[in-house]
């Protein structure tokens, strides 16, 4: 759907009042000999972003329905994260022989970011298959379903944010002015979440075994990445850590909060991995967008 009337569009013109009404009639052209896949894919993503209110509304509905009738609702997750933080904090601070007041902020931030990452990845596998009913009935941009999955997890994770503040206050540590650097970090996490949801959503729709593989990879990644343990514990082997995308992307948010900043190598690695995810996801989306409706 193009914002300017007249030209051909490569996704079907649904009634869309964000476009000028009764403008020159939109033309939907689909030619198997000249698929114009790139235009269609980019238009899909642009339209999804322009109409962000729809995935946001759907994400909020998802959360409401998931916790329907529950007293605490999504705050159950906050509560269980709080219990995890205290429990793991006590155990691992003594295992690693660290001050609790130093370890607690680290583990709190780590766990909340890790929960976000692992839930985004977990839901990514069903971002398109779960929207099957809509995909087969309505010509909506596929990016809407992907954004729905991302927004849902971001909103859920946001419920745990007060926990970070509480832990910081209790431990009497506050991050310095470098805390503003979490903003680019969060942007990086969001971009990764979107492309990963797009890519995994497609791959998992076509090959139903991938979701199981992803689940076990995420479990392994939890232990292999410095979530519970600090990178310094690896001593001189810590230099290999920037190869771990989970670590570097997570660190762009965690670093400014608890470690007084992020090293340039971590940033470089995180950006490179993001570009890679984006490129692979886009290439896939451009090539196979037209097949998604048949896969789900």
């Amino acid at each position: 759907m193009l914002a300017v009337g007249g030209g051909p569009v490569y996704s079907a013109p649904m009634l869309d009042e964000t476009l000028p009404r009764r403008a020159p009639a939109p033309i939907y052209v689909c030619d198997a000999a000249q698929p114009r896949r790139r235009e269609a894919a980019l238009e899909d993503i642009a339209t999804g972003l322009r109409r962000w209110r729809l995935p946001m509304a759907l994400a909020r509905l998802d959360i409401r329905n998931r916790y329907r009738g529950s007293v605490l609702g999504p705050f159950w997750l906050t509560l269980s994260t709080a219990v995890m933080v205290v429990g793991l904090g006590l155990l691992y601070s003594s295992l690693f022989k660290m001050e609790l007041s130093q370890y607690l902020p680290f583990i709190a931030v780590s766990l909340i970011i890790w929960n976000l990452i692992s839930q985004v990845v977990g839901d990514a596998c069903t971002s398109l298959t779960s929207a099957e009913g809509i995909i087969r009935q309505m010509p909506l941009p596929f990016s809407v379903h992907v954004l729905r999955s991302v927004f849902r997890n971001v909103l859920t994770a946001a419920h745990s944010l007060p926990l970070i503040l509480v832990v910081f206050l209790v431990c009497g540590t506050m991050p310095g002015p470098e805390v503003v650097l979490i903003l680019p970090g969060l942007v990086l996490v969001a971009v990764n979440a979107f492309f990963l949801s797009l890519f995994l959503g497609m791959v998992c729709a076509r090959f139903r075994d991938i979701a199981q593989i992803v689940a076990s990879v995420m479990q392994l990644a939890f232990f292999m990445s410095p979530v519970l343990w600090k990178p310094e514990l690896l001593e001189d082997r810590a230099k290999w850590l920037p190869l771990n995308p989970f670590y570097t992307v997570m660190e762009t948010v965690r670093g400014p909060l608890v470690e007084g900043g992020v090293s340039a190598i971590v940033w470089t690695s995180a950006i490179l991995y993001t570009l890679l995810t984006g490129a692979v996801a886009l290439a896939f989306f451009i090539r196979f967008r037209g097949r998604i409706a048949f896969w789900v």
């Binding site: 079907a12 013109p13 009042e17 689909c30 198997a32 698929p35 409401r64």
Partner: protein, 243 residues
């Protein structure tokens, strides 16, 4: 000018997740012509085969044929849900589709919330959606039930809500499945009146149906599909008599 142009339109559904090779062999051995194996050794169902037609403004086209002839698939393709694997499709004009009215309905939300959600699905602003809610509430005749979760509606009430939601639009190309002509009797008269207006305002109607009375009443042209191919195309009486 709104129009639909299909040239050699072909849709194939690969049967994914089919498993064992022996099953595949058995399926292909008894192949009722529509199953075949493509280049990548997948079993595919030919849903639409090489359809060519043109629909001009003012035409009221009925798609008829047996179950599985490809009527709904063609509607969905015209709506932009399925991308053709072969041929070319051109649809000019704002498309409004009444294919599955319940798609995107959230049963845990109230009728009103669903109407606003449907507005968002269509790309309306929130203010416009709210305004639509009153219109739909009134037309559906659900009264106070409009603020009750859809889950607690009777089947008839759900139908009314879906119908009312789906028909708040002014499309130029209206795609409709025959579902829309079924409903409880009291509501039906009102619904038909609304549909008649919708159809009259649209430039093109494409209607998939089994009911020949409806075809005679609403349409000016008929395409008969059989196993994914067009077997007859012409004015209503001509095609219906030939059968």
């Amino acid at each position: 000018m709104p129009h639909i142009l299909a040239q050699g339109l072909t849709i194939e559904f690969p049967l994914y997740h089919m498993g064992a090779r022996s099953l595949k062999k058995r399926l292909l051995a008894h192949s009722p012509l529509r199953l075949r194996e493509d280049e990548a050794n997948r079993v595919v169902v030919s849903a639409l085969r090489d359809l060519s037609f043109r629909v001009e403004p003012g035409e009221r086209l009925a798609l008829i044929g047996h179950n599985g002839a490809g009527k709904t698939t063609l509607l969905r393709t015209l709506a932009g849900v399925y991308e053709p694997v072969g041929g070319r499709l051109e649809v000019e004009g704002l498309i409004g589709s009444l294919i599955d009215p319940a798609a995107g309905m959230d049963v845990h939300s109230t009728g009103r919330e669903n109407i606003v959600l449907r507005g968002l699905f269509r790309g309306l602003s929130e203010a416009r959606s709210e305004a639509m809610a009153d219109e739909v509430a009134e037309f559906s005749g659900l009264n106070e039930f409009i603020d009750v979760p859809v889950r607690s509606y009777s089947a008839g009430m759900q139908v009314r809500l879906s119908f009312a939601m789906a028909t708040v639009m002014e499309p130029e190309v209206l795609l409709m499945d025959e579902w829309f002509l079924a409903g409880d009797a009291a509501f039906m008269a009102k619904a038909r009146e609304k549909l008649a207006k919708l159809v009259a305002d649209a430039d093109i109607l494409v209607l998939a149906t089994h009911d020949m009375d409806i075809v005679r009443e609403w349409c000016t042209r008929v395409i008969r599909l059989e196993a994914g191919r067009i077997v007859a195309d012409g004015p209503v009486e001509q095609v219906l008599e030939a059968a």
